[in-house]
């Protein structure tokens, strides 16, 4: 119904911007809002992403202009200026970014004017408009990177084909962002590439400024980052390829071959890497087979999550574990333009089960219920069980009520913790398998 959402799995763009900046090394956010917006948003995304938590200058440490009623009436420029002076005195960073929220946007505060005063003094300060009523968290991710990369970073004349940037994974809203990006990086490095992930713990501010040097951008999401990378290509001349987030051995092998083709990497290296990785991977599966096969670990499956990961998880379950996927539910709140991009991308793609787009948790539950069927008093009834639910913690109630095994794989995740774990790549595939098996044997 219109744009209303029941139990949203996203925030306003300010929330996504704060999450993104918290993962960028050396970058300091200043939230030109009440102190509540920044605190509520960063506190909750830190909770909802498997207790990702706050770091350096995120969470309760984010500088805020603490917008109040008099600022709404008389403007908040003076307060922002004062906050920025103090921030530079107190906080050690490489780049400072002012973010806006609904109040500063509605009253059309002169943020640009204040920011340019500091820029004139040579301070590394920029601002990004993140009005809460235009675009959600995923948009916030793009807005921040777009401003830094396509507006601030100088064009590099020297391109290095061995440098790759990876985009499309949104900190916290893709709760496995660190583990996933770490694994993608590991794999690409095995092919002799150097990788800017921007968000893994090994990254420094230099990775961010090196981004224009890259020879290729890899986008791991069908929607998030498309505009960003089109503009990137225009400004910096770096082309991009869109790849599905690779989960498990089958998808990762395909991923490697696509990247190798785009970069002309010699096939001997590619084949060697794939062979070694698969040997390792299947050696684990070889032994796990006793458990999986003896216990008949085969399930109908529902997969609920965002546009970036859902289908990859569904394919993994179908292709590697032999699950029968009945529902692939994409829960993103997409503006028209992004919806078009996504639907265009999915056309002709391999889609496990029934694909639905649904933002409301209650409606998602209905989809899952319908696929499973309900006892109707008949002696013989083909309920689609045993059944495994993969979704966010919002799907947990449904799973628990129906005594179905369940694993949280998408935002929000707050019934398990996620530190270095990821589900992408070879190692991620093993992790996912391990977590699924853990759920199934936990009651023993």
């Amino acid at each position: 119904m219109s744009s209303c959402i029941e139990r949203p799995r996203t925030t306003c763009s300010l929330g996504g911007a704060l999450s993104t900046i918290s993962a960028l090394p050396g970058v300091i956010p200043i939230s030109h809002t009440t102190s509540g917006c920044a605190g509520n948003l960063s506190g909750t995304t830190a909770f909802n992403s498997g207790y990702c938590g706050s770091n350096y200058c995120s969470g309760q440490s984010v500088p805020v202009s603490n917008f109040n009623e008099s600022n709404v009436v008389f403007g908040g420029a003076g307060r922002l200026r004062e906050e920025l002076i103090s921030t530079f005195e107190l906080i050690d960073g490489k780049l400072y970014i002012v973010l806006t929220g609904c109040m500063s946007e509605i009253i059309a505060d002169d943020v640009q004017g204040v920011v340019s005063e500091f820029q004139n003094e040579g301070k590394p300060l920029i601002y990004v408009n993140t009005p809460s009523f235009e675009g959600d968290a995923f948009e916030g991710y793009e807005l921040v990177l777009d401003k830094i990369i396509n507006d601030q970073l100088p064009v590099s004349s020297r391109k290095d084909k061995s440098i790759i940037n990876v985009f499309g994974i949104v900190p916290q809203f893709d709760p496995f962002f660190r583990g996933d990006l770490g694994e993608i990086k590991r794999i690409l490095e095995r092919l002799g590439l150097r990788v800017n992930t921007l968000f893994t713990n090994d990254q420094t501010y230099k990775n961010l400024t090196d981004v224009p040097k890259a020879g290729l951008n890899i986008l791991l999401s069908p929607v998030y980052g498309v505009d960003l990378l089109k503009k990137f290509e225009k400004r910096h001349g770096t082309p991009f390829i869109t790849e599905d987030l690779p989960v498990g051995a089958i998808q990762t092998e395909a991923f490697i071959r696509h990247v190798a083709k785009a970069l002309d990497i010699d096939s001997a290296t590619v084949n060697r890497v794939i062979k070694e990785e698969k040997r390792d991977y299947y050696a684990y599966l070889e032994r796990a087979a006793d458990l999986i096969s003896d216990s008949e670990f085969k399930y109908y499956a529902d997969v609920v999550g965002n546009a970036t990961g859902t289908l990859s998880y569904a394919r993994f379950l179908r292709d590697e574990l032999g699950f029968v996927v009945e529902n692939s539910v994409i829960t993103d709140f997409l503006p028209k333009k992004k919806e078009k991009i996504l639907k265009g991308y999915l056309e002709g793609k391999d889609i496990p089960g029934n694909l639905s787009f649904e933002t409301d948790t209650y409606q998602v539950t209905k989809l899952l219920k319908n696929a499973m069927g309900q006892p109707n008093g008949d002696f013989y009834i083909d309920l689609h069980t045993p059944r495994f639910v993969f979704g966010s913690t919002f799907e947990k109630d449904y799973a628990v009520k129906n005594a179905l095994p369940y694993l949280a794989i998408s935002y929000p995740v707050y019934d398990r913790t996620i530190l270095s774990k990821g589900y992408a790549g070879f190692r991620g595939g093993l992790q996912l398998m391990e977590d699924i098996l853990c759920v199934l044997v936990a009651g023993r």
Partner: protein, 505 residues
């Protein structure tokens, strides 16, 4: 009753003069508040905190079979997921059934900001009623609709007729108040304006029975029961263990206890007027609704600090007992309880005695806990209430007396806390959740000033608190190791400055 008739309650900044910035000595705060200089204080640097919307949601989310509509862009109210899981825990611990709470966002878009979001809100109210069949729908109005002038109250009043559920508006735009505690008033205002506080004939009781002249016994019994029934006002910061402990003490005075308003239902709220005394457990929490209930139903109330720590418990219980002429009983109970508590605390005292503590959190609780720890021989080196308003005056006159020279700072701010920790290296910190990660990063052990894990109120609470404190004074390896390996964002020279140097007049 003027205030109660308004669509929106006055925020505490206006109603009570509230403050969020201060640094001085224990004896200064009250003076500064009374002299009026407190309200003018501010900071030239601020960090993220919370807003009254998020606290309003915290209370509303506990109400049975409710749906919450957050009228705002999609970011406000993100913390509902956290609250939902808290409430599930709270319900489980209270033995209540499944958590049926749903929440929805009008997810205001640019066109709603330009054209107003009223139509959308109306539709969402009807949809929510139809689709989820809640007993009660709260419409929570955030900053954006307030700035663009959506008439939420008008919508709520007119939609009441179109839906089956009860409907209440909570006005709590974050930008309107500097203090999160305004949320208590916002929430109570919504209950007062939109819900019923009296039992309904033929639903809750049969009026024919009472009209029957031959049924005098029933009327007498009713009167007797009401005369010894008290309402106890809870809050999210008070857990079921706290409630149990306090109910135990009140029952020892032969009182019958009804608990409000969290974890109540619409139907239960109708009995709120069926008591002879309203009892608050925190000075800055309930005055808004208690004064209303006094004006409207003539029910007196007790606001007397928090029943936390021997001294305060005695003051609190005696005050209540006074209403029923049971002071002697109360004294007896306290004597007995204190004696067995003192005995039980003995083994922990040598661990905690002389240890230096920094304490921060809710304005009343942190003062009561400081009083409690001081009495047990701990050295309180700073008290950091999160806000201050006039309602806390009672407790802070005790603070002025008991801690005249102890630094007191009205602060939620992490940078100030970290500066103090680095400078004064306390042995342990008592703080609000949300701060402990930062405290650990400074290498210092810390405990919560309240949590869901154990009682904090009453004698059981004091025992649990001290036991936990002593436990956390053992083996600080985790925080120590963490602090060696994590970098904080502040320039070195920040630690050379005074921790509260960004507070200005």
């Amino acid at each position: 009753m003027k205030n109660y008739d308004q669509n929106e309650p006055l925020v505490r900044d206006i109603r009570l003069s509230a403050a969020d910035s201060f640094y001085g000595k224990g004896c200064d705060l009250l003076k500064c508040a009374e002299g009026g200089c407190l309200c003018n204080k501010n900071r030239s640097f601020w960090q993220a905190n919370s807003c009254q919307l998020s606290l309003s949601l915290m209370m509303a989310s506990t109400i049975e079979n409710a749906a919450i509509i957050i009228h705002s862009p999609v970011g406000c109210g993100v913390n509902m997921s956290t609250l939902y899981s808290n409430v599930t825990g709270g319900r489980n611990k209270r033995g209540l059934g499944q958590n049926n709470l749903v929440w929805l966002s009008t997810n205001m878009q640019k066109v709603d900001i330009i054209n107003g979001g009223e139509k959308k809100l109306r539709e969402l109210i009807r949809y929510t009623d139809r689709e989820y069949r809640p007993e009660l729908i709260f419409v929570v109005a955030a900053c954006a609709p307030s700035i663009i002038g959506d008439d939420v109250d008008d919508i709520v009043n007119s939609e009441k007729e179109n839906i089956a559920a009860d409907l209440a508006a909570i006005h709590c735009p974050g930008f309107k108040s500097r203090v999160v505690a305004s949320a208590y008033d916002s929430f109570y205002h919504a209950l007062i304006r939109h819900l019923k506080f009296e039992p309904e004939p033929y639903i809750d009781y049969n009026p024919d029975n009472y009209a029957n002249p031959y049924n005098g016994d029933q009327t007498a019994l009713y009167r007797y029961n009401k005369a010894r029934t008290v309402n106890l006002f809870n809050a999210t910061s008070m857990n079921p263990d706290d409630e149990n402990e306090i109910v135990r003490l009140l029952q020892a005075l032969d009182l019958n206890v009804q608990i409000y308003t969290e974890y109540s239902s619409r139907d239960k709220l109708r009995f709120i007027s069926e008591a002879s005394l309203n009892i608050s457990m925190c000075d800055v929490h309930d005055d808004y609704i208690l004064k209303y209930l006094e004006e409207k139903y003539g029910i007196p109330y007790v606001i007397q600090g928090m029943p936390l720590g021997k001294k305060a418990i005695r003051e609190w219980l005696l005050k209540i007992a006074g209403f029923f002429g049971k002071e002697k009983d109360a004294e007896k109970i306290c004597d007995y309880e204190e004696k067995r508590l003192d005995e039980a605390l003995k083994p922990f005292l040598k661990t905690i005695r002389g240890k230096r503590v920094i304490m921060g959190g809710g304005v009343v609780r942190i003062a009561e806990e400081a009083r409690m720890l001081k009495e047990l021989g701990m050295d309180i080196i700073t008290i950091r209430p999160y806000h201050y308003d006039n309602e806390a005056g009672g407790v802070y006159s005790e603070v002025a007396e008991e801690f005249p020279d102890t630094p007191v700072a009205v602060s939620t701010q992490v940078f100030e806390l970290i500066n103090q920790l680095k400078k004064y290296k306390p042995d342990i910190v008592v703080e609000h959740a949300g701060k402990h990660g930062w405290i650990s990063k400074c290498g210092i052990p810390s405990v919560n000033l309240f949590s869901q894990a154990r009682p904090f109120f009453g004698y059981a609470g004091e025992y649990a608190f001290i036991k936990n404190l002593a436990f956390h004074l053992q083996n600080n390896s985790y925080a120590k190791n963490l602090s060696k390996n994590v970098r904080l964002p502040y320039h070195k020279n920040w630690y050379e400055k005074d921790p509260y140097s960004y507070i200005k007049d």
